[in-house]
């Protein structure tokens, strides 16, 4: 099962590292990353596979929330289907 993670916040050292370590900790595999700085804001979109995650989806979200709080960024995880439904026929 694929999910999209979006991370937005003030740029600093270690955002990608922190998010990826958090994901590795719950066995979520990163499939693709697109990251840029838009007007000084760190903006990242990740495609991940949560099919083999060691915890339920809800816990993956909580793990990310904890890491996001530590990094001072906003993070969100949503299943890929919601975007496919809206933007792909």
């Amino acid at each position: 099962m694929h999910a999209i993670i979006t991370v937005i916040g003030h740029d600093r050292v270690g955002i990608i590292a922190g998010i990826c370590v958090a994901l590795a900790g719950v066995n979520v595999n990163v499939l693709d990353i697109s990251q840029t700085i838009l007007g000084g804001m760190f903006t990242m979109v990740m495609l991940v596979d949560v099919g083999e995650a060691s915890v339920p989806f809800e816990k993956v979200g909580e793990t990310l929330d904890e890491e996001a709080a530590r990094l001072g960024v906003n993070v969100r995880i949503q299943r890929e289907e919601i975007f496919d439904a809206m933007h792909r026929i």
Partner: protein
């Protein structure tokens, strides 16, 4: 992979434009709960609802979390209770509403609909008992919603039922006077009621429906408003195209959520209802869409035309996005639940007469309108008759959900709370309709009902 623009567009719709799934409604047949002993029947009703809908709320929450889109309401609709209770040897139908209420509370849903009767052509003894029980049932319960179908294109208008419902609306308001007539916000009088409506207060599980079904109602006035702001000054066909594209995207969300809920609950998917349902929140208003089309204020000249365009474009966009479309599927114009409608009514631009014209071209009817507490039962019946006539002749659903606010006069506002919002008390015509209403009888079915 999806591009960033698409991902952030969806997130913007959810975060800033109030995109949500308005309701997942589980329809449950209670036809197998009829019993001669009312105590046995109400126990069977409670047991069946709680058994079928046990997982509805947790599954809804899981989907909400995983998809990242709010599902505002989880609801239940049941077989019109008059059909179920008719078999019981009792005069008092309030315990049936109380059984529904207890079951809804146990399941954790927001509302349960179906304390209903279908009397477009006449009453059974059960129908009469149910209608008589409505004021007490709505006062004694928290979650129960009631509806009565008094007319249809095929049957005409049951004017005895229209007269009766005027009185019932008044009694319901008086019985819930302590809450500003809140009971009336949970009571709908229909013409051409649909059997698969997921929206309250008019939802019930029709007799042609399966044992159990999942229906989903989408929303999205805020998303349409936002899209229209991007095409300011463009010709009206660009407006229609923009609404269509937006409705398509919104409905695809509904289809996805409906399929997901249906699979997880192991209950068949019924329909997606394409309605544009507003909330009292800023930026989630149907009136503001009409204003974005180019009207200074909702209710002025041009409002009916703009609403007709909106309603049609929503259907055209939505119908391609869902495999099964049903319910009411159109724009709702509930005054108290729409911030822009409230403002327009307070300014005096939006009147009941204009709203009546608007109901000719959009979903449902005179919805969530507060009128003075001293409005007579006959005037309310006459308002119902007018709406029923519009529905009957135009082969569409119309309804009246009106609150004769106890002790309130024009200029006052009643606060109903939550999604029900607040309603400015609107003036009604004071000339009497009593002689017309007291005639009783039936308005014959119109010529356009003879299709065979």
């Amino acid at each position: 992979m999806l591009n960033k623009r698409e991902i952030f567009e969806t997130q913007h719709m959810i975060d800033r434009e109030h995109l949500d799934i308005r309701t997942i409604t589980m329809g449950i047949s209670l036809r197998d709960c009829a019993h001669g002993d009312a105590k046995v029947a109400t126990r069977k009703i409670y047991d069946k609802i709680t058994r079928c809908a046990e997982r509805l709320v947790p599954v809804g929450r899981d989907i909400e979390r995983e998809m990242g889109i709010p599902i505002v309401n989880k609801r239940i609709s049941v077989t019109p209770m008059a059909l179920v209770a008719d078999a019981s040897e009792t005069e008092d139908y309030v315990p049936f509403a109380e059984a529904m209420d207890r079951a809804a509370g146990e399941c954790g849903v927001d509302f349960i609909g179906g304390f209903s009767a279908l009397v477009q052509k006449g009453f059974t003894s059960g129908d009469r008992k149910l209608i008589a029980a409505i004021p007490e049932a709505l006062a004694a319960t928290k979650y129960v919603c009631s509806s009565v179908n008094v007319a249809s294109t095929r049957a005409g208008i049951n004017m005895d039922a229209v007269r009766l419902m005027g009185e019932i609306v008044k009694k319901t308001a008086e019985r819930t006077a302590g809450q500003q007539g809140l009971g009336c916000a949970k009571l709908v009088v229909f013409c051409n009621a649909v059997e698969d409506n997921p929206f309250m207060a008019g939802a019930f599980h029709g007799v042609g429906e399966p044992e159990c079904v999942i229906n989903v109602g989408v929303s999205g006035p805020g998303v349409v408003s936002y899209a229209l702001k991007q095409v300011k000054g463009e010709p009206i066909d660009v407006v229609a195209e923009t609404i269509k594209k937006t409705a398509f995207k919104v409905t695809r969300m509904g289809q996805l959520i409906a399929r997901e809920a249906s699979t997880r609950l192991n209950v068949p998917f019924g329909i997606v209802d394409l309605s544009l349902a507003p909330t009292p929140a800023q930026g989630d208003s149907v009136a503001r869409i009409l204003e974005a089309i180019g009207l200074e204020r909702c209710g002025t000249h041009g409002t009916t035309a703009a609403l007709a365009l909106l309603n049609d474009a929503v259907k055209k966009g939505g119908v391609m996005a869902s495999s099964q479309v049903g319910g009411l599927s159109g724009a709702f114009i509930p005054v108290s639940e729409d911030e822009g409608m409230i403002a327009a009514a307070q300014a005096g631009t939006l009147t009941i007469d204009k709203l009546e014209a608007m109901t000719c071209v959009c979903s449902v009817g005179l919805d969530m309108i507060a009128v003075p507490g001293d409005t007579s039962a006959e005037t309310i019946s006459a308002i119902i008759a007018d709406e029923a006539a519009i529905g009957m002749i135009n082969t569409k659903t119309t309804a009246v959900r009106i609150i004769p606010a106890p002790g309130k006069a024009v200029g006052d506002t009643i606060e109903l709370g939550g999604l029900l919002g607040s309603a400015p008390v609107m003036p009604v015509h004071t000339e009497s309709s009593a002689e017309f209403i007291h005639r009783g009888g039936r308005v014959p079915a119109p010529l356009n009902s003879l299709k065979n």
